[in-house]
């Protein structure tokens, strides 16, 4: 037993060292920053203050948090609905095709995300490809405005983050022992029941890591709201960006980042509680 622990110790050593130095260090600096005061010209004065947090409570900024959160929840829910079946079907493919599928799933990532979004604009714009097709099929008379709307942002988020969900679900469904499902069926469970009681339960860890990997970035990917949504939804990410840049108020930006981190953490913990998963990623 002792020897086994010793082996585990060597395995976690790089992670512990790396995390403590390069992740915890900068984050402590960030938290310290959030209690400092912005300098008039540039930089910060290291004077303790709670003003930055107080400011977040102003309705303008509270609204922004709410909007971001709503968008993240909506996007994540849709990503789950779309991505879970994909990951599940992928795990049921013959082995040789799984690897190909995985590679082709990631290939679009070779293309710069900005350029890919421009691709969508060309398809979705008023005089774009999609409207053209719909019109020539006689389905619509006037071109539809797809862009610069809430659904367009959600669509962009789903497009950008889907592979994270798919791959997470896939890697936990792939190891599943399908004979368990078979057994459930043999015991008289319906196909649906067998799925919910066996397959789904066993793939929850993957689903959860997928949710974490999609929910968190969807709070911050403001360039999607910018390009597909015409900046009409204010995300916390873009507020932070503005405070860091033109407004030059780092402490306020840092405070918003801390609040966002806390909120995300609460969300994940709550989700964990609700889904009753004991051994789950992320937060132990």
């Amino acid at each position: 037993m002792r020897r086994r622990k010793f082996g585990a110790l060597w395995m976690i050593l790089p992670l512990y060292v790396f995390t403590l130095i390069f992740v915890a260090g900068p984050l402590i600096y960030m938290i310290a920053l959030s209690f400092a005061e912005a300098n008039e010209v540039h930089g910060v004065n290291w004077i303790f203050t709670l003003d930055n947090y107080r400011k977040i409570l102003e309705p303008v900024y509270l609204d922004t948090f709410l909007q971001s959160f709503r968008l993240a929840v909506t996007s994540t829910a849709i990503i789950c609905l779309v991505g879970y079946p994909f990951g599940y079907f992928m795990a049921r493919m013959p082995e040789s095709r799984r690897k190909k599928t995985m590679l082709f799933l990631m290939l679009p990532f070779w293309v710069n995300s900005l350029i890919r979004l421009y691709g969508w604009i060309i398809i979705l714009q008023k005089k774009g490809i999609l409207n053209h097709i719909l019109q020539s099929l006689g389905l619509i008379e006037k071109p539809i405005s797809f862009l610069y709307s809430y659904p367009a942002i959600v669509f962009g988020m789903v497009y950008a983050l889907l592979p994270f969900m798919i791959l997470s679900v896939y890697s936990s469904a792939e190891k599943m022992d399908w004979s368990l499902v078979e057994a459930a069926r043999d015991l008289g469970a319906s196909r649906t029941k067998a799925f919910w009681t066996v397959t789904f339960k066993l793939t929850v860890p993957g689903l959860l890591s997928g949710i974490i990997l999609t929910f968190i970035p969807s709070m911050g990917l403001f360039f999607i709201a910018d390009i597909l949504g015409g900046n009409k939804i204010v995300l916390v990410g873009s507020l932070i960006q503005e405070q860091m840049t033109r407004a030059g108020n780092w402490p306020f930006a840092a405070a918003m980042a801390v609040v966002m981190m806390v909120l995300t953490t609460i969300m994940i913990v709550m989700y964990r509680r609700i889904s009753h998963v004991k051994e789950v990623e992320g937060i132990g």
């Binding site: 912005a38 008039e40 010209v41 540039h42 930089g43 102003e58 303008v60 900024y61 609204d63 922004t64 909007q67 690897k99 590679l103 421009y118 604009i121 714009q125 008023k126 005089k127 774009g128 405005s145 862009l147 610069y148 809430y150 910018d226 390009i227 015409g230 900046n231 009409k232 939804i233 204010v234 507020l239 503005e242 405070q243 860091m244 840049t245 033109r246 407004a247 030059g248 108020n249």
Partner: protein, 342 residues
């Protein structure tokens, strides 16, 4: 699987290793600005003429530049080009070199219209490199009203049809101009009023975007757009029938300035570069490529006539740094405005 991955990676690495440039000269200098500010021929021309290897380094926002430059204590970078307002901070922090004008033979080519500005009142540190005036551009086929100034943007006829750039100081600024105030209004209560006026614009806004805003106008997503100069030029190049409006309430100016870092590793090369760009032929090439107003008087005859500021435009206001309280209120106005656009 492992083999595929290794195979792909090896191929990628092999392909990329061929592109590593051959270092010929030990003389080098770092140019630090946005990407796409110079045509490749100008960069190549400078390297050929002087034998100095030019390293073109980029930042995304002015603030990133200020951060990195102050961290390097004015070192690491040689020539920097950035926006007017940030140069004020750069100078205050002592990160810019006081120019030795003897070394700049082309210094007199500069158009004095762009000199003596707030960020460098005595022209000690900077050489202007391009100016911008955000203008209203519209498609007369899609707009029934005549647009003369900013105030027309509030016209209810234009519901859901305006594309705006995303610089919050500029958008607040034109609202100020509409209300007959300065773009740089400092009084917080007055700025709050500006915010209320701005909110009334929200129903007309189709999108707010900083990059490639002109595309929305060209693709018919918007019928009116408030665009940066390079975007105005790009839009006109694609569709010459578009109407350009110099708003009657007054114009907002923006100037990009070129300066040498206070502790530049290769100052001689830096001076050579600035002087190279000051040559009228070279300057004209640069402005034509960028699509910003020509700041080099001697290049006015060589450059695309559209890039010479018309004589009728004699004055404009530059967005300057304001107090922190004012800045905060402008930012709040902006956030409220964006949320109201949805």
């Amino acid at each position: 699987m492992k083999k595929i991955a290794t195979g792909v990676l090896c191929a990628a690495l092999a392909a990329s290793s061929m592109t590593v440039p051959v270092l010929a000269d030990d003389q080098e200098m770092v140019l630090y600005t946005w990407e796409g500010m110079f045509p490749q021929e100008v960069l190549d021309g400078f390297q050929e003429e002087t034998g100095i290897k030019l390293i073109y380094s980029n930042f995304d926002t002015d603030e990133t530049m200020l951060e990195k430059l102050s961290m390097a204590k004015g070192g690491d970078y040689d020539v920097i080009i950035a926006d007017d307002y940030i140069i004020e901070a750069v100078v205050q922090e002592g990160l810019a070199e006081k120019l030795d004008k003897e070394k700049l033979t082309g210094y007199d080519n500069i158009n004095p219209l762009y000199q003596g500005q707030f960020y460098d009142p005595d022209d000690e540190y900077t050489v202007p490199y391009g100016a911008g005036i955000p203008l209203i551009v519209y498609d007369p086929e899609m707009v029934d009203i005549e647009i003369k100034g900013y105030s027309d943007l509030w016209n209810p006829e234009l519901e859901d049809s305006i594309a705006l750039t995303a610089n919050y100081r500029v958008i607040n600024g034109i609202t100020n101009l509409t209300l007959g105030k300065s773009m740089n209004e400092e009084d917080v209560d007055s700025i709050k009023e500006t915010g209320e006026k701005l909110l009334e614009l929200a129903p007309n806004v189709r999108l707010i975007q900083d990059d490639n805003t002109q595309n929305a106008l060209l693709s018919g997503e918007a019928s009116v757009a408030f665009l940066y100069t390079s975007q105005v030029m790009a839009a006109l190049a694609e569709n010459p029938d578009l109407q350009v409006v110099y708003p009657e309430e007054g114009l907002g100016f923006g100037i990009m300035g070129m300066f040498i870092a206070s502790d530049a590793p290769n100052k001689d090369a830096a001076y050579q570069f600035v002087d190279y760009i000051l040559q009228p032929e070279i300057a004209a090439q640069c402005f034509d490529y960028m699509g910003y107003y020509c700041t080099n008087k001697a290049a006015d005859e060589l450059v695309d006539p559209k890039l010479v500021v018309p004589d009728s435009v004699s004055s404009g206001e530059i967005v300057q740094n304001v107090s922190q309280e004012a800045e905060e209120q402008y930012n709040k106005n902006w956030t409220e405005f964006r949320a109201a656009c949805d």
